[in-house]
């Protein structure tokens, strides 16, 4: 029962913040509402007993990615910040709304037609951290050391790529 109440609160929070995020014309507000959505999604992970995932979501997304966005907004868009920019054409808005509603209708239809076999044996307990750690750095079947190492390489490549792209070009 408590789970259901929490889920409804989180769902309303997420959907409301997401709607505000895409409809507000000020970019700074959009970034703030994105932060709220990220917190709500972290709450969904906590509700699903994936505590580690929720902590990773908060630390990486809410702590890291949102900071990058705020920095970029402060660096880039002085006029947009003051709310003078970003007029949305109404024809584009109607087209986007129609495409969105059509897509949502198709996806909802598919979801409603599909019967999901829910495994009722799932206990309402947290996934043990030891198990996660062993699976993350183990090299046997259903263990994930290769993608784990690969993502570290990928992050390194992205750091170098970001530096190269954002670097000031030499005038020479």
């Amino acid at each position: 029962m408590a789970n259901t109440v929490m889920f409804i609160i989180l769902a309303v929070f997420i959907i409301g913040s997401a709607l505000m995020c895409v409809t507000t014309t000020k970019i700074m507000r959009a970034a703030t509402f994105m932060l709220f959505v990220l917190f709500g999604v972290a709450g969904i992970y906590f509700l699903l007993d994936y505590t580690f995932l929720g902590a990773a979501q908060i630390s990486v997304y809410a702590g890291g990615v949102t900071m990058i966005y705020v920095f970029a907004i402060q660096l880039v868009s002085k006029r947009t910040l003051q709310g003078l920019e970003e007029r949305v054409k109404s024809s584009k808005m109607i087209g986007g709304a129609i495409a969105t509603v059509l897509g949502l209708a198709v996806v909802s239809l598919i979801l409603l037609k599909t019967g999901f076999l829910v495994d009722e044996s799932v206990a309402d307990v947290e996934v043990p951290m030891k198990e996660i750690g062993m699976a993350l750095v183990g090299s046997e079947k259903y263990q994930y050391v290769l993608p784990f190492e690969f993502i570290s390489l990928f992050l390194l490549a992205c750091i170098i790529g970001g530096l190269v792209v954002a670097r000031k070009e030499d005038k020479a």
Binding site: V22, V37, Q57, V76, V122
Partner: protein, 102 residues
């Protein structure tokens, strides 16, 4: 216990709100924020399917974890590109970038 369809409905709504933002916004950073909403919707799906339909495996959870990492890297590179675009075109709207238009 919350039925799994509720999670799917939530993530479908979030996904298409993100799609709507991506289609209607003309600001590069706002479009990137919409992409983040879409990625979060997919993450919810992975976690809910893993937890409620296949609670013995951990694939969905690790998929979500790696998606979070990839999204962080992706947004860092995209922000670098946007700052460069702003430096060259003095604008952060997609309509101003017409160099590659045929």
């Amino acid at each position: 216990m919350i039925p799994v369809e509720c999670y799917f409905a939530l993530s479908a709504l979030l996904f298409f709100i993100g799609v709507y933002g991506f289609v209607t916004r003309r600001n590069l950073i706002a479009m990137l924020i919409s992409v983040e909403l879409v990625l979060n919707a997919v993450d919810i799906n992975f976690a809910a399917i893993n937890r409620l339909l296949y609670p013995n495996g951990m694939e969905g959870m690790f998929m979500t974890l790696f998606v979070i990492g990839v999204a962080a890297a992706e947004s860092a590179v995209a922000i670098a590109i946007i700052i460069n675009v702003y430096r060259n075109f003095r604008s952060d709207s997609v309509d101003s970038i017409t160099n590659m238009k045929g």
